[in-house]
Homo-oligomer: 397 residues x 2
Amino acid sequence: MAPTRQTLFAATLCSGLGLLLASHLWAWDGVVEKQTFAIDSFTTQGGETIPDVTVGWEAYGELNDARDNVILITHFFSGTSHAAGRYDPDDELAGYWNAIIGPGKPLDTDEYYIISSDTLVNLNAFDPNVTTTGPASINPDTGEPWGMDFPVVTIRDFVEVQRELLESQGIESLHAVMGASMGALQAIEWASAYPDWVERLIPVIGSGVANPWLLATLSAWAAPIRLDANWNEGNYYDGEPPTDGLKEALKLVTLNANHWQWANDTFNRDWADEDRDPAKDINARYAIEQTLDDIAAARAEVSDANHFLYLVQANQTFMAGHGDSLEAGLAAIEAPTLMLYSEKDLIFPPEGVRRTAELIEADSTDVTLETLEGNRGHLDGVLSIDQASDTLREFLQ
Amino acid sequence: MAPTRQTLFAATLCSGLGLLLASHLWAWDGVVEKQTFAIDSFTTQGGETIPDVTVGWEAYGELNDARDNVILITHFFSGTSHAAGRYDPDDELAGYWNAIIGPGKPLDTDEYYIISSDTLVNLNAFDPNVTTTGPASINPDTGEPWGMDFPVVTIRDFVEVQRELLESQGIESLHAVMGASMGALQAIEWASAYPDWVERLIPVIGSGVANPWLLATLSAWAAPIRLDANWNEGNYYDGEPPTDGLKEALKLVTLNANHWQWANDTFNRDWADEDRDPAKDINARYAIEQTLDDIAAARAEVSDANHFLYLVQANQTFMAGHGDSLEAGLAAIEAPTLMLYSEKDLIFPPEGVRRTAELIEADSTDVTLETLEGNRGHLDGVLSIDQASDTLREFLQ
């Protein structure tokens, strides 16, 4: 968290960046400290009260004295607050948007205070770097995990927790809010609900409403969890969790978040086990199946099945402004908007992105649409974000 | 089955078609008789023996004396032999390609003998109009259902059963073989394995190999069945079948076989139950979820879960020619080929269709590629086939 003082020597090593860095006395060193933020009692948009809400957060760069250099990053379905940097310098992987967040990068930590928090019902409930409140949390009224008694929470509830976090730091405006996928929904909701806060809006691979295709896709994701006998209506915290169902759910997420070009470019028809021919053994399978299972199994280890179901619901219920009219919800947005998307996106198809842009633009709000290329489709919004570096740099100025 | 004599009066009612009809003494009346074909002992490509194989079949039009006016129709994953007509004149629905099969239609029953059979391991094992042999059939050696002891069967095995059926009728050549999706795989396999039989090849919404994307998609379809505790490693015939898992599997088929445009054009964000708001009730859902569930539940009633798994395997193992090389498998095809496909197909993406066309064409075999338009994607190959009527008529002459 704390910026590290750089020597002039280190700064000048950075050739073209030297002068820029030298004008600051410090630069963020890429090491992130995860912190927590607590709310004694949180009331959901649905009118339910949740005591002892705690979420994790992290920030890159320094909050200026005017507290007006804030960029809020909102995370995707299976994501966390970890958008950039490393918790430990030896961490193999940096945060998911590390390509665009850092000293001299488009989201320049020398200039901006970039903050991100774990949502409520964060999927990665058992990741030691994640703090969230959801069905796996203890309900202080019973001393037991909430399970399916946890109130339904919405994208707007995620926004409200973020607002309280920001206000706790004396922040009352956002230079920008930017997020991918479910993060785009939060960013759009921010700009719609709090137009006075949000100066720039950057929804990436997301649109203003969960359209019927997304409702059905999310429904399919949730199904394997409810099918797993271990799920037991959400009461599994003192027994075996529904790991098999959760793995299948996570496998669908991986498959849908990618494009068929990725699968066909990356994999072949190899068998998972070279001694077991799927044409002769009904339980034999292909390497791509095994790989997708292995990815899902690794993710399942730190994920909670009930949290998954609550995230599905939060995404399904999303419509900007949460009123009766998408048009009104998007017309409420006043911030200049940059929408980044993929024409190959199978979760938030381009038609919905363009419709969202049209409705934001309808009352003359500036909207820029830009595509991300790649063979990942939806995931290019996370993995190929550096393509938009110049656009982002310019848009943020 | 039996052609009905038409009066000259009826024929002349058909204006432009009058002369054509009058030149025949009969026309197929659209009523279909389902028949069965039995093989005492069938040996799979994998070298396993299945006694007492029986499949259903039906035909439209009359076999000519030269037995050279045959068009074989091969069915899709969830399909049956019922490509045209009605089993009973009062049936609400006709066969799936009724739009192009009939008197005066592109697949003209006044000219061709059009035959179609249920595959091995047909999904609709409990449909009274379907006859198939698979895991739900009794293994004569044990007197019990085969379950997962049934041998793995492949697309080539489906072709071999069809060949025996045709030979039983004295047929040794095909004016054309045409099929959609899994039917396209069978058609391609026919033309690759028996180039001397096949005079014209018409693969619709299918390609020459199950590419990695399809392997993964089929894997996702199978997963809910194996997750259902009632599946019990395939031993459920004397207890509760894994209906919930089968329903979810069938739901994924419906979703993947359509395009997002269909979902967004057809459905809205209505709740399934107007009194239960998904933003307040974690078990509440949207109308589109309920509709997809209802469709799946209706299909599950006549479907068998193990048959579903065997069909998944048959599709996954498919590569034309079943050798080591797709190039060789497709080069073996000599029949002029008409490939109909959708640019929006999410099961057999257009890239794979075009690649198949290139490989068939590589040794100068004629290939025509034509797209089907619509908002269904893959399913436009079934539902929008009439768009290709003129092309089909010309190609078959």
